[in-house]
Amino acid sequence: MKNNKSLYNKKKSISDMLLKFLIYLSTTITISIFLSIIIYILYNGIPYLSLKFISTAYSEIDSSLKGILPMLINTMYIVIITLLFAVPIGIASAIYLTQYAKQGKLVKSIRFTTEILSGIPSVIFGLFGYTIFCVILGLGTSILSGCLTMMLCVLPTIIRTSEEALLSVPKSYKEGAIALGAGKLRVVLEIIVPSAISGIITSIILAIGRIVGESAALLYTSGMAYNMPKGMFSHIFSSGRTLTLHLYQTAKQANTPDSFSQAFATATILLILVFILNVIASTISKIVKKY
């Protein structure tokens, strides 16, 4: 045997090293941008945070009243009510489209349309919602109009993501259940949906993120009122600004360092809220999906 060179001859190729460097670089850039945003907001917002800030009302005239409780409540109203509308409709549509509808041109065009809808700028949804819900249906500028508009905004996301989750359930589960004599509805509700549940919950998490972060579509529809809610149900029909809109408004009107701090504090609360909602959703997902 010739050519019995030592095996200890590991060389590093330059292209490998370059590629590795680029990968590390991109990761560092992404993470540092993300972290610097968070740190910047927290740094400016946390000093202004207090129990009083999240538990008192707001007034544009009275400088002693600069809390965000009404906005926090409005945001929760909009998130919860929108989900109450959008989640059942969205999931039921996804189930129908994947399990019942004949997979032909119609379903394909519906799928294509939902994809386009999920990419439409939310201002357009806002304009549409304003015309239909506020004016034609006579709901006025109200939380309910905002919720209905947001429902339109998030439905495509919920449908598309749930559809993907339902389609990724192995066909063998379905066959196994049918071969035991299970009816269609049982197969769908007891086998397919539970197997897809984590993807379905992901769609809800995405929807929550979209609702909390939305401003343009709500500007027209749920309005900018900041008064404290008067009644639990009547509040649905009154106007109310969300945290995001409040942030927009306070930042726009800020003329003193103090009012900028308010905006940052609101942003901090917004971040915390999104974080908490995500933790809740993923906890639910873990509880539901045991196996």
Partner: protein, 251 residues
């Protein structure tokens, strides 16, 4: 002699493709029948016609009759859920549901309206014992069925099929995804099963067909070339093509 399954002039089309051509075969009660043949010969298709799983395939057209206990299952009055309860199926790849071992077995009985916890417990134990899986899993009945080995999963799927008290068990290459040891366990099991059930098994493995079946049907491009006692097929086939296939000249 009583026939459990009687297939008469069965023709099956996938779109334009004529997958089964004039199949006629009578299968005895409490016997093991093997369907053998090269890939794409129609043996699995024929098996799936017996519990109408082919209904799930779009563009699948079926002509002819399949009688189970003298009732044509392609009659429009057939209750498919009851048919599939009577003719259970085990698939090529183990396909336990993503649930606990217990719930996998109890799923079928629950569909068929058994709710009593005590009865369900008994069914689960009995079904798992009959596939010799009880001792291996009795301490983790509430753990995920996806966490046991492939061979155990396949026996679990057989137990799941047995739990709804079928009379016929259709097996579609049940050991092709398993290791030799698990294969032997399943083969032993099949021989035990014929005491109470009519078993039809599709297999690629000719030794397996020779070992466990009473009768064998040899399929070739959608036709049954020969159907006879297994010993006759393997020792003294009538048709030249059968002989060529079992001696390994093609396939």
């Amino acid at each position: 002699m009583s026939f459990k399954v009687d297939i008469q002039n069965l023709n099956l089309y996938y779109g334009d493709f004529h997958a089964l051509k004039d199949i006629n075969i009578k299968i005895r009660k409490n016997s093991v029948t093997a369907f053998i043949g090269p890939s794409g010969c129609g043996k699995s298709t024929c098996l799936k016609s017996i519990n109408r799983m082919n209904d799930l395939v779009p563009n699948c057209k079926i002509k002819g009759k399949i009688l189970i206990d003298n009732q044509n299952i392609y009659d429009s009055r057939t209750n498919l859920n009851l048919l599939r309860k009577r003719a259970g199926m085990v698939f090529q790849r183990p396909n336990p549901f993503p649930m606990s071992i217990y719930d996998n077995i109890a799923y079928g009985p629950r569909i068929h309206k058994i709710k009593n916890k005590k009865i369900l417990d008994e069914i689960v134990e009995k079904s798992l014992r009959s596939v010799y899986l009880w001792d291996e899993v009795k301490d983790r009945l509430n753990k995920s069925a996806l966490g046991i080995s492939g061979g155990q999963q396949q026996r679990l799927c057989i137990a799941r099929a047995l739990a709804v008290e079928p009379q016929i068990i259709l097996m579609d290459e049940p050991t092709s995804a398993l290791d030799p040891l698990s294969t032997i366990k399943i083969e032993d099991l099949v021989e035990m099963l014929k005491v109470n059930y009519t078993v039809i098994i599709v297999t690629h493995n000719m030794q397996q067909a020779a070992r466990i079946s009473d009768t064998t049907a040899f399929f070739l491009s959608g036709n049954i070339v020969e159907y006879a006692n297994t010993s006759k097929i393997f020792n003294n086939p009538t048709d030249k093509r059968t002989e060529d296939y079992i001696t390994g000249r093609f396939g």
